[in-house]
Structure formats: C-alpha cells, structure tokens
Symmetry: D2
Amino acid sequence: AAAAAAATAMSLTSDEVNFLVYRYLQESGFQHSAFALWNESYLGKSSVMSGSVPPGGLVTLLQKGLQYVDVEWHVTEDGLEVDCDDTPTLLT
Amino acid sequence: AAAAAAATAMSLTSDEVNFLVYRYLQESGFQHSAFALWNESYLGKSSVMSGSVPPGGLVTLLQKGLQYVDVEWHVTEDGLEVDCDDTPTLLT
Amino acid sequence: AAAAAAATAMSLTSDEVNFLVYRYLQESGFQHSAFALWNESYLGKSSVMSGSVPPGGLVTLLQKGLQYVDVEWHVTEDGLEVDCDDTPTLLT
Amino acid sequence: AAAAAAATAMSLTSDEVNFLVYRYLQESGFQHSAFALWNESYLGKSSVMSGSVPPGGLVTLLQKGLQYVDVEWHVTEDGLEVDCDDTPTLLT
C-alpha cells in the first residue's frame, strides 16, 4: 500500500526544480550562478515565485530521495528487510 | 526496520550536490548558469568530477525525495496506510 | 583650432559604452560575459539597441584614443612636434 | 608630423583591452559580468594584471578616441580647420 501511494506521488514542474536550485545557489553564496539562472530560466515570470521554498529545500529533498533509494535497496516489496549492508552511492 | 535503515542513509557532500546541480543546469540548456557554477563552486578541483552522474540525476533524486515525503505522509510508523488523499506540495 | 574642436567633442552615454562593450564581448566569443552584461546593464531596454555599432567598434575607438594620447604627448599646443621617442603606455 | 606620430602609435593587446573592460565592469557595479569575463578571458593568468589601470581608464580612452575622430572630421591633413558643425556620432 505504501508503494502504491508512492507510485502516485506528484511530479515536479521545471519551474519548481529551477526555483529549488535557485534558492540553493543563493543560500550557498553562489551569487553569480543564481543571477545567471534567474535570467536564463525566466524565474521572474514564473508563478512559483511567490511560493515559500523552505530554507535548505533542495538538499532536504535530495536527502529524502537518498533515503527512499536506501529503502528500495534494503526492503523487499513485501516489506521484508534485506540482509544487506551496502549503502547506495549518489553518483551511480 | 525500513525506517531504521533509512535513518542511517548516507548524506550528501557539498561537492556532490553542486555536481548534481551543475549537470542539471547543463542538461537544461542553462549554459551561463552552468559556467558560473563551475567557476564559483570550484568543481574543476573537486574529486567528484570523474564520477558518472547519471543523466537526469538531480530530478530523479528529487522525485524519489517526493515519494519519500509522500510515504511519510500516508504511512504510519507501523506500516499502516493512512486514509488521506492529500498530496504533499513541494514548496511548503 | 584643432584643440578647440576636440574640446567640444561629444561625450559618451553609459548606454553607448555598455553597448560597445557588449558587442566587444560578443565578438570576442565571451558569451557568458555578454549574457551577464546584457542583463546587468538592462541593454534590452536601452534605446541604443537598434543603432548599428560597427564591428570592432570598441577596439577601433580605443586605438584612436591611443593615437590621440600619442599626439598629446608629441605635439605642442602650437602644433609643433616634440622631439621625443617615448610611446605612451596604456596602463598608466 | 602629428599625423605621422599618430600613425606609429602602439596597438593594444587583447589582454589589455580585456583588462580595461574588466575594470570598467567592476567600476560600473556589473559584478556578474566582471566575474564572467575574469573567467572567460583567463585574466588571472595574464601578465597585465599587476599593471595599474587608472580608474575610469576605458571611458577616458574612449573619450579621447572620440576627440581623435572629431579632429579627423574637422581638420585637414594640412592642419587647416574645416568649416563644419557636424559632430561625429559614436555608433556609425
């Protein structure tokens, strides 16, 4: 049932991703990158703007993504835990 | 047990996040933002570089993050599904 | 008389200088710099835009500026040439 | 003689022009453009760097370039002033 629920989870729009990234760039002190992205992705014309992206939103969501991957690796579809000590790596 | 496994999931380094973002900017055609980030975050000096970030890596991981949030919302710690039709929104 | 004429020469507006620089950046292949300047200096909203800056306009004008400096160094106000082999340097 | 002197005036190297432009961008508050140009033109590896470009160097030299053009318009090769009230325009 959890898997079923997950399967219907909402998707992200491009504007939402861009805005998460933009906020990340700002918060990381990458001002030039943030400026460029603002102009390249036309964020100023996006309706996402007024929304309140929580501080650290991009990293928080990425971490949850990793947790999801971790569960995928270590739990079967029946909910049984796999006896496995491997940790998923980000870049593969 | 799944929750326990998730709780020990690895964390992301700054370089890894920056590289995921850099690849996203490139793949999205935001060449100026990618150029700026490359220089601002000193990615050229990072050891992450040679790693192979899969295409669409950032968005894929963000989507999994959303799925994780969705599970958090709709499944209790005991693994029971909550009767709830709400969908978590990204920007809150 | 020449000096008098020169003294009344027109001045450059900020937009004109920015546009000369923008074209220079473009022609030099500095696409990221050109993109940033376009956005930072609001050139898109400038009335200078439609004007036709000749190719190489910035460098041509800088070269003429150097020639003017050279004349200033080697010709007196009376139009007499100074016996001097020095060449003015750009960066002083 | 003045014309002859001018004809032998030094020329500008690419690095010199880039550095004049870089300083102009900085002084004008175009920080993102300056950052991009620094990286795109590899100014950090240029030997011009330590040189002291005077404040406002680019605009000063452009203005002198305009004065030179003005003289070209209004003075014959014999040094006689032409009876002409036209002012040269920058962008043609």
